[in-house]
Amino acid sequence: MASLTATLTLSSTTVSSDALSFSVTDTANVVAPIENVARIIAATSGGDSADNTAKIILPNIDANRYVYIKHLGLNSAGGDSGADQVKIETADGTQIMLLSKDEFAFFPYYDGNASLLQIQASANTVQVEYAYFTRS
């Protein structure tokens, strides 16, 4: 069995009168399916979702998966993606998160059933980096 170590640090000297500075680390056991760091173009059409608007990044299985997703700030041609955002959606197209330029998310995705995760650009195209690891 493999392990994945994730560390999150949050810091700020301006978000409140009490400076924020802390880290959390978790080492989790992970099994296949695993998809190592990959890149994909999010668009508004031409996808493989039910309505062809989004790209599926997690297959439809009944498992808890640690998911990393990052908006790379680039369009499909490698230029600046500007204000175009990336919608993170469930299988029915319901948006649950919204990534702006350079933002990222890390979370253990699971809704209690077999479920997939898909991404879609708010407009135009956006390069997205992602990875996932299945909890053992």
Binding site: T5, L8, L10, S16, N36, I96, F107, Y110, F133
Partner: protein, 132 residues
């Protein structure tokens, strides 16, 4: 306007033949409402454990961690769902696990709550910051 700086590091030497080791970071502009690092004793009734109030933020940078305890000292492995305030789960945390994400439910107006998967109590840590 305030700035929040999150940094995520992922590492593994055995998840694949190619070792994983990378970090990503950025500065996020944030504005009220926000809530600093807080703790709640979550129960199996999600509506009793709302951590991001309904309508408080269009996009909320949300941090949630399962402390692995019921009260700060007694160990538990009960799973805890992160849900919108319509009881729809989108993440499930085990002991010691955490999440950091820009929550933004389609249509807006939805908060975030925590719900223990079985009748039990789990002490959870959380914070949120509204995107400016």
């Amino acid at each position: 306007m305030a700035t929040l700086t999150p940094t995520l590091t992922l590492a593994s030497t055995d998840a694949s033949s190619d070792a994983i080791s990378f970090s990503t970071t950025l500065g996020l502009s944030v504005t009220p409402p926000s809530k600093g690092i807080s703790r709640i004793n979550a129960t199996a009734t999600g509506g009793d454990n709302i951590i991001v109030p309904v309508g408080s933020a269009n996009i909320a940078y949300l941090y949630v961690k399962h402390t692995g305890t019921t009260d700060g000292s007694t160990a538990t492995t009960q799973l805890v769902d992160i849900e919108d305030t319509d009881n729809v789960a989108f993440a499930r945390l085990g002991a010691g696990e955490f999440a950091f994400l820009p929550y933004s439910k389609a249509g807006g107006g939805k908060g975030v709550q925590l719900q223990v998967a079985h009748a039990s109590v789990v002490q959870m840590e959380y914070a949120f910051f509204s995107k400016a």
